[in-house]
């Protein structure tokens, strides 16, 4: 059970300090909201699962504004989005978006390109070695920032964390970094996810109970150390050649951001509560996959509800995910099955079950965000949660029928309760629409060549 922290103060990024002392009411600046939702922050969440979908079991039935995820003629059939039936009024179901970027730039492997381009909507770039044997870019990267970072640029404000990246067995493939990472500040500036919920909890929440005096001292010490370290970085930077300087500069930027998070004092929002302590668990064990995911979602919801960040992502495994869904009784792995579904009815059903399971997780996240009351609305109302995939069809590595589900309206900016057939439009344009919904005045995102403009339906 979550416990309220209305009588606690909040220390950001102070893992390890846990000295409980009573707090003065005066030290608890809670932002007052007169009941409206206009002044609640806007949030954006990415929810990724891999290997495409089975379209005829994913597609809604009905019309654009009146649809269902359950087949009335065949109610016993497992349909992928059925767990979202209670939420359909809060959703935009988007089918047939295309990664048109796949026909541009270097690379060629469907999982490399699919994952690298999924959130960046941009080309890949070769690494410094210029090494691109066939399609693989072993030291390559992406050409631009991912959409979550572009949105963070608009909405992050002075929150302690500009964005938070969470993973569930989102392990790095050493040989194919591009398949296993999705969030980027820019080329070669990857944002790796935290796969360990307890570490994430410690980072974000463990110090909620700390003594304010201790907190102030710790912050002062950290600031003095980071200041001193920053001077070393600055001096070194000036002496380095261009490419090394870039590396060191970006490290210094990260330190400055950390310092900033130590100085940012701001109040808690009404919905803020202590999330469950995840506890030490073997977060890399396959059987713990559901448990870790649930813990990470709990942390995401409260990180948003407490306004520690306004942008978060949850990466379930990686592109080409090889997770075997043992808890559903499957013997093969997700990626293996995604290539076997077309000629094996049993495996096809299992693949539907895998995607249905992810829909259940998405529904859990959406439900939890709805339970956080913010003024007249909920956390979900003030957010967009985007479920995305690096493929359309896992078998063919199709780039042309990529399934997206959006939940939440970004405070009324997006009309929900709709099913949209994007008819092959570049996924860039979805991101243009999202950026606009969050208040950015843009006409393109990522590779401008494939952009038409914001999607008229959004």
């Amino acid at each position: 059970m979550r416990r309220p922290i209305s009588r606690r103060t909040l220390l950001r990024g102070a893992g390890g300090v846990a000295i409980a002392l009573p707090m003065l009411e005066a030290m608890l600046p809670r932002r007052s909201h007169a009941g409206g939702t206009a002044d609640f922050p806007r949030r954006f969440v990415v929810f990724f699962s891999a290997n495409g979908t089975i379209h005829e079991r994913w597609n809604p039935l009905g019309t654009a504004n009146d649809f269902t995820f359950v087949d009335p003629a065949n109610p016993g059939q497992l349909r992928i989005l059925a767990p979202l039936e209670p939420h359909k009024g809060d959703l935009v179901v988007l089918q047939n978006l295309a990664q048109q970027t796949r026909s541009h730039g270097p690379g060629g492997n469907g999982h490399d390109m699919g994952m690298g381009q999924m959130l960046t909507a941009n080309t890949l770039v070769e690494g410094p070695s210029g090494y691109a044997e066939f399609s693989h870019l072993p030291d390559g990267s992406v050409a631009g920032p991912s959409i979550d970072q572009a949105i963070a640029e608009v909405i992050a404000g002075t929150t302690p964390y500009r964005s938070l990246e969470f993973g569930v067995r989102a392990n790095l493939d050493l040989a194919r970094q591009l398949t296993s990472r999705m969030c980027y500040r820019g080329p070669f500036e990857v944002l790796p996810p935290e796969n360990d919920p307890q570490a994430a909890f410690d980072r974000l929440f463990s110090s909620l109970d700390a003594d304010p005096a201790e907190v102030a001292t710790l912050r002062a010490k950290r600031k003095s150390v980071l200041d001193r370290v920053g001077e070393d970085f600055l001096r070194l930077e000036a002496k380095l050649g261009a490419s090394d300087r870039q590396k060191v500069e970006s490290h210094l930027d990260a330190i400055r951001e950390l310092e900033q998070s130590l100085s940012n004092d701001h109040g808690l929002l009404d919905g803020c509560a202590m999330p469950n302590v995840p506890g030490k668990l073997d977060y890399n064990a396959n059987d713990n996959y559901p448990l870790v995911g649930s813990a990470q979602m709990d942390l995401i919801v409260m990180a948003l509800a407490c306004d520690l960040t306004r942008v978060a992502s949850l990466q379930w495994s990686t592109a080409q995910s090889g997770v075997p869904f043992t808890w559903l009784g499957h013997s093969s792995d997700h990626h293996g099955m995604s290539h076997e579904a077309d000629n094996d009815a049993t495996i096809r059903e299992q693949l539907v079950a895998v995607n249905h399971w992810y829909a259940e997780q998405f529904a859990t996240l959406v439900t939890a965000m709805k339970q956080v009351v913010e003024g007249d609305g909920t956390l979900l109302d003030h957010s967009v949660v985007m479920w995305c995939n690096e493929q359309g069809n896992g078998d063919t590595h199709s780039a042309n029928e990529i399934p997206y589900v959006l939940a939440g309206s970004a405070g009324g900016a997006i009309e929900t309760g709709r099913w949209i057939d994007a008819q092959g439009r570049a996924h860039n344009d979805l991101y243009v629409s999202l950026l606009r919904a969050f208040g950015a005045d843009v006409d393109t995102f990522g590779l401008a060549d494939v952009c038409i403009g914001p999607m008229p339906e959004l």
């Binding site: 796949r102 410094p128 944002l191 996810p193 935290e194 010490k221 380095l240 050649g241 090394d244 060191v248």
Partner: protein, 515 residues
């Protein structure tokens, strides 16, 4: 070395290639903290995973995210807290009477070890000033802790900063002596220099190629080299995923975490034995007829129980072993949860051992693997799939290599039948310098061991690891030629290759830092 006449690819002017700034990997961070403080808590265990090109130390793809910077901060805080628990052990004076002179001495001695070079006067003064301010506010112990935190988050600790000698101007410079000590120690040990290695730059004894070689040979005899070798091999041979691997309980009811852990111990013991006890050659790595088992693994593999506790060497009869090719960990990782994966095994051989990367499947084609058929072997199913001309061009490069390993099931266990049908382990090598048909793992291993492509590939993989980057065939032509010659002259002993890696233009020189 170097006395065998000029190497054609090398001109008079050294060509070091790119020399990107290197940052300590998580592996190196932990080892360094252990060497500095005797702290074995592995503070880097929770750092974000990083790397590229198949290696965790590719300097050109790694970057520091805000999460990573925070992890560096937390690690520095916890290490410093532990290190200052016993000030007497840390400081060169009585902790009851610590004065600034004591701290100043400590900064000189310890600073040199932490930053792997002497502190200059300005750095020394700044750190001492920082200490004095902190002592006023927080007392001696905490002030020492804060100085340590500062040093451990400094770029001079986290990065391997190199400028070469100050006088350099001509575009390429020899790596400075202190910088060379650091290059050697992180390459051969994955950690900081020891006292002997620190003494060398102080005495000006790392200035010549011969002095570098002598240090390298000494260093290979130290325990740290063993840990580094294993760390490289688990990446090169791509078996790290054995830790925590999941196999299908129906297909492999006797397989569990204990067997996976034993297979990890098996492959580690095997590689250590080949490199340090056996002749250390690529041939042994690919053909050795022995492995290592404990009681549980022997039972799982259906081998006689070992004669002693722990991992024991065994040369089984009645089955073919072929070095790393038949190591349980590699076979289990390059497999599906419920069966073998001949394509993955073939791809592994091509990418990791031959350094040839087959093209990916063309976009938008149906990649249907053969359906499960209880009346056929895995091989028979994949052979049908290879009949499609759209696939066979590339799959002929991979699948027939994997077929040769079909006498080992998806969990790395020897077998002679599948679904009641006899295993056909005949295979084929195509597009290599050792092309042709073969039967079984032993023939495959012997064939690969005789391949110049494989030897060159091993040199290339080590190049990437040693220099933290992918090779450039133009700029690095000389270094690669130097490596191959050193490897060949050393009888393709991996240890000689490691020495050769310290004798190239890429290791001894670097581009001058442009102003």
């Amino acid at each position: 070395m170097g006395d065998d006449g000029p190497i054609a690819a090398c001109s008079d002017a050294p060509s070091p290639g790119r020399s990107p700034i290197r940052r300590l990997t998580a592996f190196e961070y932990d080892a360094t903290i252990e060497d500095l403080f005797g702290d074995t808590t592995h503070p880097a265990a929770g750092f974000p995973q990083e790397g590229g090109s198949g290696l965790d130390n590719n300097a050109e793809v790694i970057s520091v995210s805000p999460l990573h910077a925070e992890k560096f901060m937390q690690a520095a805080e916890s290490v410093a807290a532990r290190a200052t628990e016993d000030l007497a052990a840390l400081l060169p004076c009585d902790p009851a009477s610590v004065d600034d002179a004591c701290v100043a001495d400590w900064l000189d001695e310890f600073g040199e070890r932490v930053w792997r070079r002497p502190l200059d006067a300005a750095e020394h003064a700044e750190l001492l000033g920082f200490y004095q301010e902190a002592r006023e506010l927080h007392g001696v112990t905490e002030a020492v802790s804060l100085v340590l935190q500062t040093m451990l988050q400094s770029p001079y600790f986290l990065y391997r900063v190199e400028f070469g000698p100050a006088s350099a101007s001509d575009g390429v410079v020899r790596v400075g002596d202190w910088e060379m000590a650091t290059r050697l120690s992180y390459f051969l040990w994955g950690s900081m220099p020891d006292d002997t290695l620190f003494a060398a730059p102080r005495a000006g004894e790392l200035a010549t190629t011969e002095q570098v070689e002598a240090q390298a040979r000494r260093m290979l005899g130290q325990p740290r080299a063993r840990a580094m070798l294993l760390h490289f091999h688990e990446q090169w041979l791509d078996y790290a995923a054995i830790d925590g691997i999941t196999k299908d309980a129906d297909a492999f009811p006797d397989y569990g975490p204990d067997i996976a852990a034993a297979q990890r111990a098996e492959v580690d013991a095997f590689i250590e034995h080949v490199i340090w006890e056996d002749d250390g050659t690529v041939t042994s790595l690919l053909t050795a007829p022995y492995t290592f088992v404990d009681g549980a693994l022997a039972a799982y593999y259906d081998l006689p129980a070992p004669g002693g506790p722990g991992m024991q060497q065994i040369t089984p009869t009645g089955r073919e072993l072929a070095g790393v090719l038949t190591q349980g960990a590699l076979l289990a990782v390059h497999a599906k949860p419920h069966e073998t994966h001949p394509i993955a095994r073939g791809l592994f051989v091509r990418e990791q051992l031959l350094c040839t990367i087959p093209p990916p499947p063309p976009p938008e084609i149906d990649l249907v693997p053969p359906p499960i058929d209880p009346n056929a072997t895995t091989r028979e199913r994949y052979e049908q799939h290879r009949d499609d001309p759209a696939c066979s061009g590339c799959h002929n490069l991979m699948d027939p290599i994997g077929f040769g390993l079909e006498t080992f099931d998806g969990s790395g266990r020897w077998r002679t039948t599948e679904n009641g049908l006899a295993i056909d382990a005949s295979g084929d090598l195509v597009g290599t310098d050792v092309d042709g048909a073969f039967v079984g793992a032993a023939e495959l291993g012997a064939r690969l061991a005789g391949s110049q492509m494989v030897n060159d590939c091993v040199a290339t993989q080590w190049f990437r690891y040693g220099y933290g980057r992918t090779e450039s065939l133009e700029q690095d032509a000389c270094s690669i030629a130097q490596l191959r010659e050193g490897f060949s002259a050393g009888g393709f002993d991996i240890k000689e290759l490691l020495v050769a890696l310290t004798q190239t233009d890429a290791f001894l020189f670097r581009p001058a830092v442009e102003g």
